[in-house]
Symmetry: C2
Subunit: 278 residues, 2 copies
């Protein structure tokens, strides 16, 4: 059996999340259906991140096993034909037989996008959280540095305890204001010249793993800093108190993107395919 690794992008708006659920359509279900249409085999796919309802992905990584001999390039175009417009196959590669998209992920990167302008912008209605009140993005970035490193993040986990351990290592957390920066670009905010008068505030966070609702809880907490209600010290206390009741509200899902997933044994995953024909 071959082990096929896909990089997917999807608009999560119309889905109940990644995982198959009793109610609603899951991204997993439409991808499994497309695989069955293409290969005539039932396949179970394993995803790096089980994104929640309404959460988007630029670089979700999944794998599945197949006896099919179809080339990777034909799998990409073939699956796309059976997928709805809001799910795209960005990349297909052959993985080692024991590769598992979830268990072998060494780090993941999420992005949270806020449209921070008085007026709305229709095109990002489903893709960014609109906040009319001006945010202090510098203060948010500074306070966010408290969370970088190896910590028990149970203060930022919904329904604790639901995993064996709530200790995770955040390797980077950036909050930046950007104007002319594509929402769906590969680049990290740190590589982009910050635009102090930009209309978007991005939070990007990379960690070896994430707890349930962790990014959205962090966003809710740092928003309180952005509004001037809380300080870096408040965030430090929240982290140390290890009590979810004290952290900020969970930010809405439609601003959140799974940007990329990294593995030791695969080339660094790129969420966006290389340009056409190059």
């Amino acid at each position: 059996m071959r082990n096929i690794c896909l990089t997917l992008a999807y608009d999560g708006t119309n889905y109940c999340g990644w995982q198959v659920q009793p109610n609603g359509t899951s991204v997993q279900a439409v991808v499994e259906t497309a695989i069955k249409e293409l290969t005539s085999e039932a396949a179970t796919i394993f995803a790096a991140g089980r994104t929640d309802a309404g959460v988007h992905a630029l670089g979700q990584v999944v794998n599945f096993h197949t006896a099919s001999g179809i080339s990777c390039d034909k799998i990409r175009s073939g699956l796309q034909r059976f997928l709805p417009d809001d799910v795209a196959v960005r990349h297909v590669r052959e993985a080692p037989p024991d590769f598992h998209a979830r268990y072998h992920a060494t780090s993941k990167r999420y992005r949270y996008v806020i449209l921070n302008s008085r007026a709305k912008l229709p095109f990002v209605e489903r893709y960014a959280y609109h906040i009319g009140r001006r945010l202090d993005d510098r203060a948010m970035h500074d306070a966010g540095q408290v969370l970088v490193g190896r910590h028990d993040f149970r203060s930022f986990e919904s329904h604790y305890p639901n995993r064996s351990s709530s200790v995770r290592t955040v390797s980077e957390l950036t909050v930046a204001r950007c104007g002319d920066w594509a929402l769906w670009a590969q680049h990290r905010p740190s590589e982009i010249a910050a635009a102090s008068d930009g209309d978007y505030v991005f939070l990007e966070v990379e960690a070896d793993g994430f707890l349930y609702n962790m990014v959205r809880s962090i966003v809710g907490t740092l928003l309180k800093v952005g509004y001037g209600s809380w300080t870096t010290e408040t965030v430090r206390e929240i982290l140390n108190n290890q009590d979810r009741d004290h952290s900020g509200a969970t930010a809405p899902p439609h601003g959140l993107y799974l940007v990329r997933v990294d593995y030791d044994d695969l080339r660094r995953e790129t969420p966006i395919d290389s340009p056409a024909g190059s």
Copy 2:
């Protein structure tokens, strides 16, 4: 009566175009309804550009007369409450009594966005024309320079003759490949460092006026250059022949944006509102 000037952004996907039509919902109708809800007066609005079905706007400019004493800022937030999510009021200002958004416009700027990557990207499905085959954007830009200046553009007009004159002056035409450039930014491509490996190809064109389907005909023509089928000379011949049958197909509407409209007697219109609170 006051004369109120609005800058609007809208997602044209679900509309039959700007103008009130027998079938379908027009952007004009939903804005007029919102004005009536807010001011309790029936108002007719005049728009700078009568965008077609499916065409978007970042900076459509319209005006209407009202006896209402509501402040501009309250008009902005008030209208937004009565508008659907796909229409946004970006800016409101008081205009001179005789100001007319259409007749006083001195120039307009349109943008056409192409996603030029093998794989699709769900988020821009409705906002960019997807072309998998690699385009030669340099050749497109060079050929496009033939169109800059004062010319009879009837070769690029649908249903000629439908205006008194098909002579227009194109002051700028830029084709550029960009990667990390927001689709809905104010900047012009010329102000952006071109990314030779970017996934988007933008065409921007500014003129003192546009004929029916002119931008989309120009895009269709330059696409033939981008594919390598036509040259700069072909474009020159098409312009000189003054025959619509020889130019390229009309590109689909969903890649097209009315970016901004300029007036002599008003400050240069900005499509995107200034950042919140600044």
